[in-house]
Symmetry: C2
């Protein structure tokens, strides 16, 4: 059991921020040890680290964080649903133009086609994903952009990407210990969604450069630049 | 050979925008057919599509686009270097805090360690990537963020991601026909760097949901939500 000042030191958050989180219902109160004093334990520290990560890495508003921590605390919410609540709260979120009455008709039509293609792809893959998963619209958005630039998108084009995504996700879900505390499991899920996505992006660019060097580099006087 | 009005129709860009691109040196002048008239061919259309994609998808400033199209037009610039010029121009770009005298010392030190780890990783993988590739800093940034949240990053943690990135990049480089026109090859490179990166992100989230459903869904009353 530690005082709020030590909780502040160990979490890297100011006492003001910790008190704000308690007022907002993001962190449970400590055990009262006097009229104005309370003590905190490891679970408070874990929770603070999760809240901090949701704020700083997930860039989530307080209301979204409150929903997530309420789900963490509710043992009736299973792990899969907990992951869904977390992932669906994380941006970027896309507003489909087919639901915007001011959008041009051709864009709305392209969007509807793209979204149908996404739904057909997920069905074809046999992936268990809810109809309201925000990543469906995220994917539909890229289909629209690719087609507007003259790149058709077919299932065959996507195969290397679906394989890579599935391999990485399999690794990530496998890393969640069956008996992991719920706070830590959600934390790991957030980190793999946001930060390992960036890892994958950076590695993708590095791999492109490597493979371009192998394929085209021999002819290229600028290769060693 | 077509007039500027048809070039506008086919590229989806206004005549004003096309004239602006010509003034800025992003598009070659048409063949003069009179004092104030000129005609354009398929190469102009291809170039316009590339410039539009660099602006809209790559979000690049005019000066960066000018460098890229100058490299496209210079046959002394090999394909590998052309890809490098394009990829290095595309953001996000990271400003390493170890080069910022105002950055806190501990952050600068964490950054230096992360960047050394990135360099060691690339060396270990045997990837041919220049020391100034911006994706090195992009990756270092995520290492710093992960470690600040208490997630150590080791080579073993990264293996599934490096494999996935290499598989996808191999597919992408393989899609570039050996005899593809340079304009189209750069266009394809841009699209795979920016838009297929988003495809991969969206598929990653969908795959996470699927694998979470398979692993945890059976226990979960909320699964079908």
């Amino acid at each position: 059991m530690v005082k709020i000042s030590e909780l502040s030191d160990r979490s890297g958050l100011t006492i003001q921020t910790i008190k704000f989180y308690i007022r907002e219902g993001l962190l449970p109160k400590g055990a009262a040890t006097g009229a104005t004093r309370a003590e905190y334990d490891e679970r408070h520290l874990d929770r603070l680290r999760l809240v901090r990560a949701l704020r700083e890495v997930g860039d989530l508003p307080v209301a979204a964080i409150r929903r997530i921590v309420a789900a963490v605390d509710d043992d009736d919410v299973g792990m899969h649903r907990l992951f869904g609540i977390t992932q669906y709260a994380i941006g970027p979120h896309v507003d489909p133009p087919d639901q915007d009455p001011g959008a041009p008709e051709d864009l709305a039509a392209q969007w509807r086609t793209a979204r149908q293609d996404v739904d057909a792809l997920i069905c074809e893959l046999g992936w268990r994903v809810t109809a309201r998963a925000p990543a469906r619209d995220l994917l539909a958005q890229t289909f629209v952009a690719l087609r507007r630039l003259g790149f058709p998108v077919t299932l065959a084009d996507l195969l290397p990407y679906t394989r890579a995504a599935a391999a990485v996700a399999e690794h990530e879900i496998g890393m969640v210990a069956a008996d992991a505390p719920r706070t830590r499991a959600v934390h790991a899920m957030l980190v793999s969604t946001v930060l390992y996505e960036q890892v994958l992006t950076a590695l993708h660019r590095l791999a492109q450069e490597d493979l371009s060097a192998r394929r085209f580099g021999a002819d290229d006087p600028g290769e060693t630049n």
